[in-house]
C-alpha cells in the first residue's frame, strides 16, 4: 500500500530541486528497472505490482537492502510519469563520478555544451553506450541527466555511462594539461569527416541545439569536422539535429578501428 506521504515524496522528485535534495532519481517500466537492477547503481525502493514481484523474486533477493512495496495498478497510475505505466517504479541513488585525466587521455570522450532537450541527452547517452564511450561531460547549464525523460530515453544506457557535469572554464584548464590530445567539433566550415584523420582517443564537443559551439570552446578545438550533405551543392536542411550529428560522428570514429568480426 502506498501512503499519502510516499505519493507526495515520489511526486516531489519529478522536480530537479527535490531530486537534488534527496540525491535520488527514478526509473520506470520492466525493461529499465531490469537494467537498473543489473547495474552498479544502487536501487533503494521498488513499487511494483504483485505480478512483477512474483516474476522477479530472484533479483530482489540478491539486493536485500531494497525496500519492496507491492502496489495496485491504480496506485502505480498515481505515481507514474508514463502515459502507459508498466508494472514497476524504482527509486535509485544519484551517482557522482570522478574522472581521471589519464583515463580521459586514453579514451574517446564526449562533451555536450548546454544541451537542453532531455530527449536529446537520453538519445546521446544511448549512442555513447553503443559506441563504447564511457565518459560524457556536460556543462553545468545542461539539462539534468536524472530528468525522467532523459532516464527513459536512455533505455538503460544511463546506468553504464559516466556523466560528469563540469564548469566550462575549469574543464578547459584541465584539458590544457593534456599533451597530444585531439579535440574535435562539428562546424559547417569544417573538413569532410569522412576523409579526415581521426584518432582513437580524444574529445568530441557538440554544441547546444540553438547556439552551436561557443567561442570559448571553439578556441580549444584543434580539428573542425563537417558531415557532408549530399549532393554538396543542394539546398537541403541547414543542419542536422544534435543527437543525429553525434551518432554520425561517433560511428565515423569507431569505423576507423578495425575489429574482429569473425568471432
Amino acid at each position: 500500500m502506498l501512503s499519502k506521504n510516499k505519493i507526495k515524496f515520489i511526486n516531489s522528485i519529478k522536480k530537479r530541486k527535490y531530486r537534488d535534495i534527496h540525491q535520488c532519481f527514478f526509473a520506470e517500466g520492466e525493461k529499465l528497472v531490469d537494467e537498473l537492477l543489473n547495474s552498479n547503481v544502487q536501487t533503494t525502493d521498488i513499487y511494483a505490482t504483485a505480478d512483477w514481484i512474483n516474476s522477479n523474486q530472484q533479483k530482489i533477493k540478491i539486493q536485500p537492502e531494497i525496500e519492496v512495496c507491492e502496489i495496485s495498478e491504480a496506485e502505480l497510475n498515481k505515481i507514474s510519469s508514463l502515459s502507459t505505466p508498466n508494472k514497476v517504479f524504482a527509486i535509485a541513488k544519484q551517482q557522482k563520478y570522478k574522472y581521471e585525466l589519464k583515463e580521459i587521455h586514453q579514451e574517446l570522450n564526449l562533451f555536450l555544451e548546454n544541451i537542453k532537450d532531455p530527449g536529446n541527452l537520453g538519445t546521446i547517452l544511448r549512442i555513447a553506450d553503443w559506441f563504447g564511450i564511457k565518459n560524457l561531460f556536460c556543462t553545468n547549464e545542461s539539462v539534468d541527466m536524472y530528468n525522467p525523460k532523459v532516464v527513459q530515453a536512455t533505455m538503460g544506457a544511463i546506468f553504464r555511462t559516466k556523466v560528469h557535469y563540469v564548469e566550462s572554464k575549469e574543464f578547459i584548464s584541465e584539458l590544457n594539461k593534456l599533451e597530444n590530445f585531439n579535440i574535435y567539433g562539428t562546424f559547417l566550415e569544417g573538413n569532410n569527416i569522412y576523409s579526415e584523420t581521426l584518432s582513437e582517443n580524444g574529445l568530441i564537443i557538440m554544441g547546444s541545439e540553438s547556439h552551436g559551439i561557443s567561442k570559448e570552446l571553439s578556441s580549444i578545438i584543434n580539428q573542425k569536422l563537417f558531415i557532408p550533405n549530399y549532393p554538396l551543392d543542394s539546398e537541403s536542411s541547414e543542419s542536422l539535429n544534435i543527437s543525429v550529428a553525434t551518432a554520425i560522428v561517433c560511428s565515423e570514429f569507431r569505423r576507423r578501428i578495425k575489429q574482429d568480426y569473425s568471432k
Copy 2:
C-alpha cells in the same frame, strides 16, 4: 482579428481526422513559415503579428492567393500548439505525391515500416533531406506526416521531401518489378555495414520502434546490415534509436560516393 469560427477550425485541424477532411496542415514559427513560403507547397492562410507582416511584405506579395490575417500575440497564443508561440502561424495544403518506379530505381530511397513516434519521423525527414533522399515511403499504419510534432521536427525538410504512404503488400509487388535493385535493412545478425558493398541506388527499410522489421518485409531484403557496436563484445545497449540508426546508415551510403570538396 480572429473570429470564433476560425479559432474553432484551427483547433480542429490539430486532429488528423479534420486535417484529412480539409486536406490541410499547419506550420508555425518564423523559420518554418519562411521555409514553407520558399517551397512548392501551397500556403492558404497566414495568421501573424503586425511585426511579422511588416518584415515579410515582399514574400507575401509574390503569393497574392494567400489570405493574410493580422493577429495579436494573445490571439496567437489561442491557436498555437507551441509552448512559446512565435509570430506566425500558416495553413497549407497537403501534398499528394506520385512516385515513378523508374525514379525509385535510379535513386536511394527510404521505407519506414509502422513508425509511430512523430519526433522520429520528423527527424528522419530532416536526415533524408540532408542526404539527398527525395522519396520516403511509410506504411499506412505509420504516424501522420502532417502531425504538428512531425512538421516541427523536420525544420522545413518536410517541404522538400516526397513522402508516400503505401500499403505494404502492394508496394512489395511494385518493387518486385525492379531488376538489379538492392533492398537493405538493419538487423542484429546483419553484416558489418562499414565493409559491405553498398550501391548508390536502392531502398533502405527501417523497422518500427517496438517491433523492428516484419517477416513480410524481411523477405524482400537482399542485404542485411548491422551497425557495429564498440567494442563488439561489450555489454552495451541492445539497439540504437530508429532515427539514430537511419542517420548512420544514410551517412554510410553517402560516404561511399566521392564528391568534389574543392568547390
